[in-house]
Amino acid sequence: MNRIFLTLLLLLPATGFSQSRIASLNLCLDQVLLQWAAPQHIVSITWLSAQDQYRSAPVPEHVYLNRAQAEELLPLQPDLVLTGEYGAQRAASRLEQLGYRVVRIPDAYSLEQLQAQLESLVDTLGPLPGLRQQQEKLNRLLAESDADKTEKTKPATPSALILSANNITYGSGMLEHQLLSRAGFRNLAAEQGVKQLARVSLEQVIAAEPDLLVFYGGEQEFAIAHLAERHPVLRRYLHSGRVYRLPQELGFCPALAAAEVLQQLIYKRQAIVDAG
């Protein structure tokens, strides 16, 4: 009897976090729940998460797809409502006024903000194994990257350039730039003074001659926005394997993809250095 009591006591901190009815009013948080929370604990996510272009995990049948309206969530009686810092604020405030527990998870536009977001998620949802693993992986990779910087022999830094939809590239001040830098690449757009986003033509890509050409999303089907990627002038990059494609999840929910992207970019950099 004492043993059973002791076991229950040990389990208390873990179960203390677990909510049995979680709702989300934010696309990224939807995905976090679908990826790492137990399906039976999710009561509602936004309708966007059921769309093909955003869905990164199957949506359980019992989950209600909301359009960020407070009245949609009331009948579901959630014991935790997750929302971001900006979207669906009216619904979040109304639910708070009605006595529901609403937690605003910080958005992530940089690695620092991503670490804070993951920390906040762990604090709110508890140490879900997948989420914890993701957090630890990201922290480990960033620590290794910091250690590389302090080494006396500087590792080779090949160049990279992002060519995203509608010929947009990413400069300094962007999470994507930070990931490239942490993986040991020089982001040519940032070196040319691009802060945040800028247009980059195929001419500029050819003239810049990056060691790695980074596409962004659009892997599933063709779109006019991604027409540049199909231009024959980029074939030599494709043929030599000097391309990498950032998953589109990185754009709307870096918590899902950032650690894996950083890992793959590190491998890619090593392969380019070895081949060079």
Binding site: I168, S201, L202, E203, F222, A223, I224
Partner: protein, 331 residues
């Protein structure tokens, strides 16, 4: 045709290589044109790649599409004997655009790279066929216009519906961008795709030049001169559908070129609808080429769409038409 008018036409012809050079010199990267040209097609130097693989096909495609839109507009105005006619009036552009939109809408576009342009051409041909069937056998120009307006309105309604229920903001953006037209990121493959269709269209229109001439004297005169029956109107309609459909397929919808250019050229060719075809092709090529040079030299986070540029050219042209009409000048 006076010597002065001939001189102006020759001047336009001579301006084409100049426009081509301007287009080759325009772009965000500074390129040494002559060495890059001499290095040739197969060179791996970045200057040669930029010149031969990026700027050259884009410049030639702009000219080709401009020529197709110009010749299409001239043929349309000649056949309908209406100065406000342009290929879009008979649903050619809308048919091509709707086919493209439906593909973009359902995310089917360019599963293979050829699907979108080929179906856009098919859409243009289908729209023209519908106009022809709706107008009926031996239709007059006014009935053709009426049928064209009806089909065009229906296609526009379908496009509005597709936009209204676009499955995602990305699909909507794709559709809007397609409808604004662009030569960005186009290469030799798009040029070679459009070329045969535009050539077929131009050939069909060439064979109908005398029909267009006879039509300028009235439909009864045309019939008395041996241009009765369905053959010649069909020749013109399908000529326009091939030329304009091929253009829309690779560059999206670009308005006003087919409307403005024949007006500008008509006085230079002595109101001859046959000669107007080639003069309009020439001027259309020049106009669109220069419009694209403007696009290339505008710096910004978003690309300036060529459809917006031609619209800015077209709108003042309408003002000019109104002012001319008020002064009692012939249109």
């Amino acid at each position: 045709m006076s010597t002065r008018d001939k001189g102006i036409l020759w001047l336009l012809l001579a301006a084409l290589p100049v426009a081509l050079m301007l287009a080759l010199m325009s772009g965000p990267v500074s390129v040494n044109i002559v060495p890059a040209l001499l290095q040739g097609w197969h060179s791996d130097s970045s200057d040669a790649v930029i010149l031969w693989q990026l700027r050259m096909p884009r410049a030639l495609l702009a000219m080709l599409v401009g020529a197709a839109l110009g010749i299409g507009g001239a043929a349309m105005q000649g056949m309908l004997r209406n100065p406000l006619a342009e290929p879009a009036l008979l649903g050619v552009s809308s048919g091509a655009a709707l086919a493209a939109i439906l593909l973009l809408y359902y995310g089917l576009a360019w599963q293979s790279g050829w699907l979108l342009p080929v179906l856009a051409i098919a859409g243009a041909l289908l729209a023209v066929s519908c106009v022809w069937l709706l107008a009926g056998r031996g239709a007059s120009a006014s009935r053709l216009v009426l049928a064209g307006v009806a089909i065009n309105a229906f296609l526009s309604a379908l496009m509005a519906l597709a936009l209204n229920y676009a499955p995602s903001m990305f699909a909507m953006q794709e559709i809007v961008f397609w409808m604004l037209g662009s030569f960005a990121n186009r290469g030799w493959d798009q040029l070679l795709l459009a070329l045969p269709f535009i050539l077929i269209g131009a050939l069909l229109l060439y064979f109908s030049r005398n029909y267009l001439r006879s039509l300028s004297l009235g439909e009864e005169t045309a019939v008395s001169l041996g241009f009765g029956g369905r053959r010649y109107p069909l020749l013109v309609l399908f000529g326009i559908a091939f030329a304009v459909g091929g253009s829309v397929a690779v560059a999206g919808t670009i308005g006003f070129v087919g409307l403005v250019v024949p007006h500008l050229m008509r006085p230079l060719v002595g109101q001859d609808p046959g000669r107007l075809l080639w003069a309009s092709a020439l001027a259309g090529a020049l106009l669109l080429s220069l419009a694209d040079v403007l696009v290339l030299n505008v710096v910004g986070t978003q690309e300036l769409r060529i459809g917006a540029v031609t619209a800015f050219i077209g709108a003042p042209f309408f003002f000019w038409l109104i002012v001319s009409a008020r002064r009692g000048m012939a249109l």
